[in-house]
Symmetry: C2
Subunit: 179 residues, 2 copies
């Protein structure tokens, strides 16, 4: 299996906050083809599977515009330019749920999709404590914070009630050992 | 947590084979906001964690235009209009790898992303047999078929060498019990 060679032209289309990049590649049979990918300049996202002192998972219930449903998600979001990935996870946890981690460790990175340059960085946080100031949500964020058991968290993910599935896979053995 | 109310306008932009839909919602604070989602009319994808008679996982190594890397993926792809989801998984397995399943079962459905209406349907196939005709690849598909142990398959996914992570989560307990 050979790496495809990226060639010109590259065409960038911006629709709202989204960027579609048409990348042209020379394929292994020497033909050329353009592929549309959902790329972003700042392509990193951080998310965290976060547990309270009594090992309840802190989840963010929110309406999601893609599925057009309320999903039960892990706290997370886009890494700000120049921000440390773990710092971004800690910031998103605090902003979306009002919790600070006791201990936090990296559990890995995963590509978002075959058609995006986006990378998800996942963390596992234990002994999280509620901070006095509470949530600090962005204008269009409306999030209900719930505490659920690791067992229920895994069951939610398996039932398709979550979009950030990679985090559950990376945290799986840790979560099962807590149950 | 309330479901957001979808209101007009809806704006559809098509860039190559990709459709960006700007959906407008009335938010819980009565403000309105547009969100760009990567929606498709035919929004279903099927994928399969497929095992040979001696319980090796059949994977498809291929270059992916988003990560711009060779990834080790499960066989799968877009469901054709009107096609049964399981039939699509069986078809993609045959086309991409040249294997037919012995037994195949559904292991669940997962939303692709918070910003897409896409749904992934996952299957688990056992006792897969190689067919005489072999792979039947599309014009821009170049796939090396590999057989790897369930342990290596899970390790690959955890190391970020796969994009279709939901399948590994849904198949996890079955895979671990085979190892």
């Amino acid at each position: 299996m050979k790496v495809w060679k990226r060639i010109e032209p590259t065409v960038v289309n911006k629709i709202g906050y989204r960027t579609i990049v048409t990348k042209t590649f020379k394929l292994p049979d020497d033909s050329t083809k353009g592929f549309q990918t959902i790329d972003q300049e700042d392509t990193h996202f951080s998310g965290v599977v976060a547990l309270t002192e009594d090992n309840q998972v802190i989840v963010a219930q929110q309406f999601r515009p893609g599925p057009e449903k309320i999903m039960t998600e892990i706290p997370g979001g886009k890494v700000d330019g120049g921000e440390d990935y773990q710092a971004a996870a800690v910031r998103e946890l605090a902003e979306e749920t009002g919790y600070n981690p006791g201990k936090i460790i990296s559990i890995g990175q995963i590509y978002k999709s075959a058609y995006s340059n986006g990378i998800h960085h996942y963390y596992f946080a234990t002994n999280c404590q509620r901070v006095v100031s509470g949530q600090q949500l962005d204008d269009s964020e409306f999030i209900d914070v719930k505490l659920i058991s690791p067992k229920e968290f895994i069951a939610n993910a398996l039932k398709g009630q979550m979009t950030d599935i990679g985090a559950v896979l990376l945290a799986y053995e840790r979560l099962v050992n807590l149950s």
